[in-house]
Amino acid sequence: MKVKLWGTRGSVPSPGPETIRYGGNTSCVGVTLSDGSLLALDAGTGIRNLGLSLPDEPSRLHLLLTHLHLDHIQGLVFFAPCFRPQTEIVIWGPASPEASLRDRIARYISAPLSPVEVRELPCDVSFRSTPESEWEIGPARIRAASVSHRGPTLGYRIDDGDRSLAYIPDHEPALGADLEKLEDEWISGFGLAEGASLLIHDGQYADAEYPNHLGWGHSSLSHALSFARRTGVDRTVLFHHDPLHSDAQLDQLGEEARERWAAAGGDPGAIELGVEGAELDLRAATPEPSPVPAV
């Protein structure tokens, strides 16, 4: 399984000279499975470049949406495969009692917000609410579960052979809870991330910023590190960077993360901040489980 980060920013695109290294595109991750098939996780503005990287030939791809906030779907109408009649796209997302997934996405892909309507997309597109139980896409087993954020929001786990990816980009597991004291089963997202080879997780706020954003649906650095430690993942990528965080600030945050992880007994190389364009080969990256901090 290979992973490429096409958009690491949260909330709103933030291009500019101050964000050029970590990137300004919003959430999108490409996952190439062991049989070569492709999954896209979320459709923030990063998916535009993912689409441009794909060959113009008949294909089928699955897009797994965590939720429908704009920073996770904004790139959809700029995703080149949507405009290729020979492409089949299956879009998965959270169920809602209010309206179908198609109808909810159509609120964005419709006038006056969009120049095209869903029914006008040339590709063969279908919409599916994620099932409660695990399902298969190619060689991978996929599992979705609701996680703590604002509005119906999913996290995903993708198991392909003995490698696993947990993707929880928007997550506030510590809302009203002490992650250090809760039993495993009472931690939001625990079952998705437990023992994963790679965890891509919300790390939007520095600890000092979190009190002013309580309940906004995102994690502080401390919360993200606690979650990673509790779930015993091999490697963690902090993701969904705050749009106000410059490259210099993210460098500092990453350094603090590594120092704290190491101070707690973990491998500092097992914690990193997501960088737009970064490629992670799970086969090569984690031949041995990394030490997980004891405290």
Partner: protein, 141 residues
């Protein structure tokens, strides 16, 4: 794949909310198993949740009641929490429960199911002293 049994998010969030309330509140899962009560409920019962742990409704009844006006145990199927889980409807009742020190407490109980896009996940019950003007943690309103 992971081995832990993850609680549904709706129960996790309900527990987090209940933990911050001074109103005695109880949480059961979709099978009717009592999976949490908060600190205020623990004060009412005389036993904090951490000391009790997960119990079935039958066992709960033996420990704390409840009892009707004649002092007889109220049948399991008539408890508001059980009705809420079983019938997927809110339920309300007034009865007496007994704390670990043997003291009786007359309470009003409202229970409602926790529904999700995938069906009911359990129920929450809120207890309130059945004394006019009393607040759930004993002070006069």
């Amino acid at each position: 794949m992971p081995t832990s049994t993850q609680k549904p998010l709706e129960l996790i969030l309900a527990r987090n909310l209940m933990s911050a309330l001074s109103t005695p509140a109880f949480l059961v899962d979709e099978g009717g198993l009592l999976v949490f009560y908060n600190e205020a409920a623990g004060m009412l019962l005389g036993k904090p949740w951490e000391e009790l742990g997960t119990v079935g409704a039958q066992e709960w009844g033996a420990l704390f009641g409840p009892f009707d006006d004649g002092g007889e145990p109220i049948p399991y199927d008539d408890l508001p929490l059980v009705k809420a889980v079983r019938d997927d409807r809110p339920a309300h009742a007034e009865f007496e429960i007994r704390s670990t020190d043997g003291a009786g407490h007359r309470v009003e109980v409202s229970a409602f199911p926790i529904q999700t896009p995938h069906g009911s996940r359990g129920a929450i019950a809120v207890f309130w002293p059945a004394t006019d003007g009393a607040s759930p943690n004993g002070a006069s309103a």
